[in-house]
C-alpha cells in the first residue's frame, strides 16, 4: 500500500479523535443545558446546533470558509500567532468538523440526559450533593449510553465527511487530505485499485463502529433493568 494512503489514514484518525474529544468537552455542557427545562429560545439554540443535519455540506463549508479566512474571525485568530488564515489548515478542519458533527454528539447526549428525568437529581440534592457534584456523580454515569453513542457517531461521522473538508481544507497531503478526499482523487485519476482499498476499508470500519456501539449499548441497558 502506498504512503499516500497511510498518510491519509493517520490524518483522518487524528482529525476524528481530536474532533470527538473537543465535541465531548463542548457538547456535554451544551446538551446538559438543552436538556434542562427552559423557554422556546432553547429550542432555537437546539435548531442551530442541528442545522448541519439538513444543510448541504457545501453551504456549511462556504460559510466556514468565509469565517476561517483572512477577513473573518478565523483570520484575526490566525494573525495572533503569526499566520494569515485558518482556512486550508488542520486547525481549520478541526473547527469545521466540530460544527459539522456537533448534532451527532449533542443529540444523543441530550436524549440521555432527558431520559432519566428530574428525579435522580432531586434525590441527590436531598442527599447533600451540590449541583456540580450531582452532575458528575449522577447525571454523567446515568447518561453513559448517550456518551457512547455520541462519541461513536461523532467519530464515524467526522471520518466520513467530505463536502466541508473540501471547501475549508482543500486537499493538502498530510495537512487536510483525509481519506474521503483521497478516494475522490484516486477515482478522478482512475486509480481504481487504491480507491477500492480505501472504500472497502471504510465500509468495514463503519459497519464495525455501528455494530460495536449497538452491542455495548445493549449491554449497558440490560445491566440496568
Amino acid at each position: 500500500m502506498d504512503d499516500a494512503i497511510w498518510q491519509a489514514v493517520r490524518l483522518t484518525l487524528v482529525l476524528a479523535t481530536t474532533t470527538t474529544v473537543v465535541l465531548l468537552v463542548l457538547g456535554t455542557p451544551l446538551a446538559w443545558w438543552l436538556a434542562r427545562p427552559g423557554g422556546w429560545w432553547k429550542e432555537a439554540v437546539a435548531a442551530v446546533v442541528s442545522l448541519p443535519l439538513v444543510l448541504p455540506p457545501t453551504v456549511l463549508g462556504f460559510y466556514l470558509l468565509l469565517m476561517l479566512g483572512p477577513n473573518g474571525p478565523g483570520g484575526w485568530i490566525a494573525r495572533s500567532y503569526g499566520a494569515n488564515t485558518l482556512a486550508f489548515t488542520f486547525e481549520g478542519l478541526v473547527i469545521g468538523s466540530v460544527i459539522y458533527s456537533m448534532p451527532f454528539v449533542v443529540q444523543p447526549l441530550r436524549n440521555a440526559f432527558e431520559a432519566f428525568g428530574e428525579r435522580p437529581l432531586e434525590v441527590a440534592a436531598t442527599l447533600r450533593a451540590a449541583p456540580v457534584d450531582r452532575f458528575f456523580s449522577v447525571a454523567v454515569p446515568l447518561a453513559r449510553p448517550g456518551f457512547l453513542t455520541g462519541a461513536v457517531l461523532g467519530f464515524a461521522h467526522t471520518v466520513g465527511e467530505f463536502g466541508v473538508v473540501l471547501m475549508v481544507g482543500g486537499s493538502i497531503p498530510g495537512e487536510t487530505k483525509v481519506l474521503s478526499v483521497q478516494i475522490y482523487d484516486y477515482v478522478e485519476t482512475l486509480q481504481w485499485r487504491q480507491a477500492h482499498l480505501i472504500a472497502g476499508g471504510m465500509l468495514v470500519f463503519s459497519f464495525l463502529a455501528i455494530l460495536a456501539m449497538m452491542v455495548i449499548d445493549k449491554r449497558l441497558r440490560r445491566r440496568r433493568h
Binding site: R119, P120, E122, V123, A124, A125, T126, L127, R128, A129, A130, P131, D133, R134, S137, V138, P141, L142, R144, R223, R224, H225
Partner: protein
C-alpha cells in the same frame, strides 16, 4: 411522627417539597428548629438542608450498588455521623443485599434501601412522601414493621404524607388534616380521631387509637391487662413486660353501649364512660363520642350505634354509660419487636396488627 393526611391532590406533597426546598413558593416563610430556611430574602438550597427525603418511588441510583446508594448521602454529610451504616443496615434488614444492583431487588427491598439512604444522610428531619403507596399489600406488610421500629429507635422527627388512614393510625402521633391546599385542623392523632365534626369519624371504618401501658399478665388464662387513660382493657395474648407501651385501636363498630353495668356477658371489656357528643351519621346510624372514666376525664373513644338503639335506650349527651368493646387491635412500636419472633416460631404470617378480643 406527624402525618399529613388528606385526599389526593390536596397539597400534601407540595408541602413536603417546599420543606425540602425542591419547590419554592413565592413569599413563603419556613423555619425549622429555629433556623430560617426560607423568607423574603433568603432561600437555602436543597443540599444545604439537613433533611432526609423518601420519595414515593424508591428512586435508587441505577448505576450504583445498594452499598453505594446507602453511602451516597453519608459520604456528603458535614457533621460527624450519628446514625451509622451498620446500624441502618441492621435496622432495615439490608445486610445481605449490599452488593446487589437496584435492578436485582424486590419492590419492598428497594423501598427499604431508599429509607436507609435517607437516614444515613444524618437528617434532622425526615420527610416521607407516601413511601408505601406503590407497594402491594404483602410488601406493605413487610415495610410497616421497619417503619415502626424506626419510629421507636431513632429520635428523628418525621413528616409523613399519606392518604391511607390505616398507615396513619399505625404510625402517627400527630395529625395534620389537609383539604384543597389548606390545613383544616391539626392535633394529636387520638384527639382528632374522636372528633365527630371531622371527616375521620364519619368514615365507615372509623376507629380511635389509644396509648396503652402493659400492667399485668394473667398466666392462667393468658390475658394481658392494659391501662389506658380512664380505664383498663383485657386482651388475650402476651404483649411484653409490665410498663411496655403499646398502641391499641378500637373500631367504632366494635363498641356497643349499655346504660347499666352488664352482668353476664362473654365480652371482657366493659368500661364506664360518659357521652360527650353524638352526631347523626345517616338515617340509620349515630356516631357517639365517649370519654372513658367515671367523670368522663379519660381518653376519647367512638361508638357507632343505630339510631333505634339511641332512642330505645334514651341515651343523651352527658349520661354515664358502659361501653362494651368487642375487640381491640394492638399496633404501634411494640408490635414490630415481636414480629420477627412471631415469624420464627410460625405463630403469625404477616406482622400486621394483632387482633385480640372476645
Amino acid at each position: 411522627m406527624t402525618a399529613l393526611f388528606g385526599p389526593s391532590g390536596c397539597g400534601k406533597t407540595t408541602v413536603l417539597r417546599c420543606v425540602a426546598g425542591l419547590q419554592r413558593v413565592a413569599d413563603g416563610y419556613l423555619a425549622i428548629d429555629g433556623e430560617v430556611w426560607q423568607d423574603a430574602r433568603s432561600f437555602r438550597p436543597v443540599h444545604r438542608r439537613a433533611i432526609g427525603y423518601v420519595f414515593q418511588e424508591p428512586s435508587l441510583f441505577a448505576h450504583l450498588s445498594v452499598r453505594s446508594n446507602l453511602a451516597y448521602g453519608l459520604k456528603r454529610t458535614r457533621t460527624a455521623p450519628v446514625i451509622g451504616f451498620d446500624e441502618v443496615a441492621a435496622l432495615l434488614g439490608l445486610g445481605h443485599l449490599l452488593d446487589r444492583a437496584p435492578a436485582q431487588l424486590s419492590g419492598g427491598e428497594r423501598h427499604r434501601v431508599a429509607i436507609g439512604r435517607a437516614l444515613l444522610s444524618q437528617p434532622r428531619l425526615l420527610l416521607m412522601d407516601e413511601p408505601l403507596s406503590g407497594l402491594d399489600t404483602l410488601a406493605k406488610q413487610e415495610i410497616l414493621p421497619y417503619l415502626e421500629r424506626l419510629h421507636g429507635s431513632l429520635s428523628i422527627p418525621v413528616l409523613y404524607v399519606s392518604h391511607d388512614i390505616a398507615e396513619v393510625e399505625r404510625l402517627a402521633d400527630h395529625l395534620v388534616l389537609m383539604a384543597s391546599g389548606r390545613v383544616q385542623t391539626e392535633g394529636p392523632l387520638m384527639e382528632l380521631q374522636a372528633d365527630p365534626r371531622l371527616a375521620l369519624a364519619r368514615m365507615r371504618q372509623t376507629s380511635v387509637a389509644l396509648a396503652a401501658t402493659v400492667e399485668a399478665y394473667d398466666g392462667e388464662y393468658g390475658i394481658t391487662t392494659l391501662a389506658v387513660d380512664g380505664g383498663h382493657l383485657m386482651v388475650p395474648g402476651r404483649f411484653g413486660q409490665a410498663g411496655t407501651t403499646r398502641r391499641v385501636l378500637v373500631a367504632a363498630s366494635d363498641v356497643s353501649l349499655s346504660p347499666q353495668p352488664p352482668t353476664d356477658s362473654s365480652i371482657l371489656n366493659s368500661l364506664v364512660c360518659r357521652i360527650v357528643e353524638a352526631e347523626r351519621q345517616d338515617d340509620l346510624q349515630m356516631t357517639v363520642v365517649l370519654r372513658l372514666g367515671l367523670r368522663g376525664q379519660g381518653a376519647g373513644v367512638l361508638a357507632r350505634i343505630t339510631r333505634k338503639s339511641w332512642d330505645r335506650l334514651n341515651l343523651g349527651v352527658g349520661l354515664q354509660v358502659y361501653a362494651q368493646i368487642k375487640s381491640v387491635a394492638l399496633i404501634g412500636a411494640g408490635a414490630a419487636t415481636d414480629a420477627p419472633d412471631a415469624r420464627k416460631t410460625g405463630q403469625g404470617t404477616a406482622p400486621g396488627p394483632v387482633r385480640a378480643g372476645r
